[in-house]
């Protein structure tokens, strides 16, 4: 164990812990903008700086490994001044249009501006004016709001293994873009959207939808596959308007394109909400209850088995079911019907 003293508090941490992790273990907090504990430390935003005895300059706590006997200060006049300057610099190159920004209320930069009380800005000057056009179907990229924290680039590379975006240009012109500045053309998992601390990346589906007032959040499980990712539905009235996932669940907040963006069916007019049965050959489908439908199927299948033998029926199961459901399904066919004619869509 390593013993540190942070802001006067003694804290013991395991070897390999960063100073940021150590200070959080001690119940302390420093602001961060480019840090996500699920990703490798980056050290770009310079907000998590701390003073360490014996070091001439402040260092970023996210990238500094804790060492035994380290004496750390997370707050001082100097640190406050440096952090405030950093926030002010970020705001000096930001549209500051929170009134109409989809991320208002859910934006780290906005929160920092509030915490540091930045109303006047000493550094007003040129602001970036990137074109906002990206014709992809899922993700709105507003580069003028990008703070270059690199979270999107890193999640795409480190978690998704896709590398659909990267840094380009230098100096004030530096930006995050898909290759050659073309439209984003990836698998649209939206992980980048989920880690963006500002409104630079947003889901097209929830653009213009209510941000907070009247929005009800419901924790549930994604039904797309057997992974059963935890998701949080945001609904307004009887409409689902957005899907998120929090970082501390079993899927660590990561979702795929279907789980994150594939929710429009919920409120679709074409969605089936009850079973339908075609009672007469050539007739229309008619609404039925689940009891009716299940009895109907059981009756028909039993009759077929009776007449043509067990191997005249077969079951094809779905990847959207859980392992347990798939297990029960094959049991139904093997034991219930007595046939091995059982297969799964994942084979195709």
């Amino acid at each position: 164990m390593l013993n540190l003293n942070i802001d006067g508090k003694d804290v013991a941490v395991a070897s390999g812990t960063t100073v940021l992790e150590a200070l959080r273990l001690a119940g302390l907090e420093v602001p961060t903008l480019c840090h996500d504990e699920r990703l490798k430390p980056f050290g770009a935003c310079r907000l998590c700086i701390v003073e360490i005895a014996g070091m001439p300059k402040p260092v970023t706590s996210c990238t500094t490994p804790a060492t035994d006997g380290m004496v750390v200060k997370t707050n001082s006049e100097r640190l406050y001044r440096l952090r405030k300057t950093t926030v002010e610099l970020l705001l000096s190159d930001h549209p500051n249009d929170c009134m109409v920004c989809g991320s208002s209320g859910d934006c780290t930069l906005q929160e920092l501006a509030y915490l540091y009380g930045i109303r006047e800005n000493r550094f007003l000057g040129e602001v970036r004016e990137h074109s906002r056009t990206d014709h992809n179907p899922f993700i709105i990229r507003d580069q003028n709001k990008c703070v270059m924290c690199g979270l999107c680039v890193r999640v795409c590379d480190e978690v998704q293994g896709v590398g659909a975006i990267g840094f380009s240009e230098r100096g004030f012109e530096a930006k995050v873009i898909p290759p050659f500045g073309h439209d984003l053309d990836c698998e649209f998992c939206g992980q980048c959207v989920s880690v963006c601390p500002t409104g630079a990346l947003a889901g097209s589906l929830w653009a213009g939808k209510p941000r907070s007032g009247g929005v009800v959040k419901t924790d549930t499980t994604c039904t797309y596959c057997g992974c059963g990712c935890n998701i949080t539905l945001s609904s307004h009235g009887d409409k689902v308007i957005r899907i998120d996932s929090v970082a501390d669940n079993h899927n660590r907040g990561w979702l795929c394109v279907k789980g994150r963006f594939g929710y429009e069916f919920i409120n679709s007019n074409e969605r089936l909400t009850t079973p339908l049965i075609r009672k007469k050959k050539g007739g229309e489908f008619e609404k039925a209850t689940w009891d009716e439908a299940l009895s109907f199927v059981a009756e028909k299948l039993s009759a077929i088995k009776e007449k043509h033998g067990a191997d005249s029926v077969a079951g094809l199961c779905s990847a959207r079911c859980t392992n347990e459901e798939n297990y029960l399904f094959q049991k139904l066919f093997r034991v219930g019907f007595g046939t091995n004619n059982i297969d799964h869509c994942a084979r195709y």
């Binding site: 050290g43 310079r46 610099l89 000096s92 000057g125 240009e169 230098r170 100096g171 004030f172």
Partner: protein, 593 residues
Amino acid sequence: MNSEIVVSVCMGTGGIAAGGDMVMQAFEKEFEEAGVSNAIVKEHTRLHKVGCRGFCARDVLVDISVGGIISTYQYIQADMVNRLVKDHCIGKRPVTEWMVGDDYHNFHDSQTKIVLHDLGKIDPESIDEYIRVDGYKAAEKALTTLSPAEVIDTVKRSGLRGRGGGGFPTGVKWGFCAANESDQYYIICNADEGDPGAFMDRSVVEGNPHAVLEGMIIGAYAIGASIGYVYIRAEYPLAVERLHMAIKDANERGFLGKNLFGSDFNLKIKVKLGAGAFVCGEETALIASIEGERGMPRAKPPFPANKGLWSKPTIINNVETLANLPHILNKGAEWFAAIGSEKSKGTKVIALTGKIRNTGLIEIPMGMPLKDIIFDIGGGIEGDKLFKAVQTGGPSGGCIPQQHIDLPVHYEGLASVGSMMGSGGMVVLDETDCMVNISKFFLEFTQSESCGKCVPCRLGTKRLLEILTRITEGEGKEGDIELLQELAEDVRDSSLCGLGMSAPNPVLSTIKYFRHEYEAHIKQKKCPAKVCSKLLTFFIREDMCVGCGMCVRACSVNAITGEKKQPHKINNTLCIQCGSCFDACKFSAVLKE
């Protein structure tokens, strides 16, 4: 009697730019023609190219040695070669009026040359010439008679510190690296010299590439690296070409490759071309670039010596650091440690540029006073103007004013006045340079070269530049100096890498020493050095103007009127202060204030 005729032509980039190629061809042609009738010329002439000899201001420099007596000629052009061959080479009558004078010898005599010792003497494209000056002896000595630990110890005792800017003790760094358990170690030569006005590393690689390779062999042996990289800018085509040539020749002679000097030590050296990003000189960005990633620095620790290229222990040494090593091994650590000052041992190669008479490449013992460099070696300010300041360490350094002219030039000395050694660039400024404008120039560079990763560097340098720009354009406001200082300090203290940490140095040092110039720009809206055009008013002195009309033709906004042969006038409401009339007037009748 030695009747050999040896002609050496400077064929460094400076020499070639001044016409070295053409001079070389002219000699070839003249010798060929003369050789038909003159047996001595045919049999005994040797024409060879040499690297940079330092005094670039006098290029093309040519040495002619007849019978062992060497004469050096300056400002030689192709059309002068005919006479040199006829009179000197054949007629044995040196052309004295084209020869260098005392000032040329003064320039060289006050220097101490270790790294530059063989530059300008040997043909950089010939491995035999390098071997002739004891080349590869030091590597052989290290590999066959010393253990890696003994090599590290020798370098530690020599006191050699990194010449790329950091000034970290080389031997100590090697010790850190060698202490790691690993299946692979790497050595990297950092030849990504990017400071405006710097050409030290370029000249060394162009003029003596084998010395750099030999240094790499010694370093690689010390830390146990079997693979080395030279990271060199693609903008240095001649250096790259000669480096490739040197690696090929060294491989053929068995100085690189397998079982060097009969030992079981192997070393393969690869060349990686940099694409011109200044930040790739920073070691973690350089490593990222070699790995095929975008050149962006990362936080240290881990230091490259522990976790570098492909996460293996890696040593990155600058060109000049490496080129010192063969001499240290050959002559001993004590010999090296006796040169220079207490904490900065050895010499430093400096690219001397700016408003100085003798621009060029020099090498001084550490601790030489600034004054001696500028006035003795440099020959003082061009055009007898007044010395104002010297910018050392490139865009990361600071401006040192007249009051510190006695300052010893070593790591500590330069740091004590808010500047730095950096890689060794020295830009001399005179009374016609505006310090606010100089500061703006360097910020333009660092801003456009910032990788954009960290906020203080990406946006802080941008805002510094904007404030400086508005001051030079007459839009400066009360409080701007304080704002510049505050922001500069914050950028310095919170940036990720050396680029951002040092980018504010030009701003802070010029405010410290030339605050009055900033105040004049902001309060009086005047540029004391008469450089910032938006703060100038142009007018024509009636008694000097002959009415030639040159200024009228030069003016792009038709602001100048006047009858032929009558004094002209500038309409200041139309004038855009471009300065074209000032440059065009042959009678000094256009004045600016």
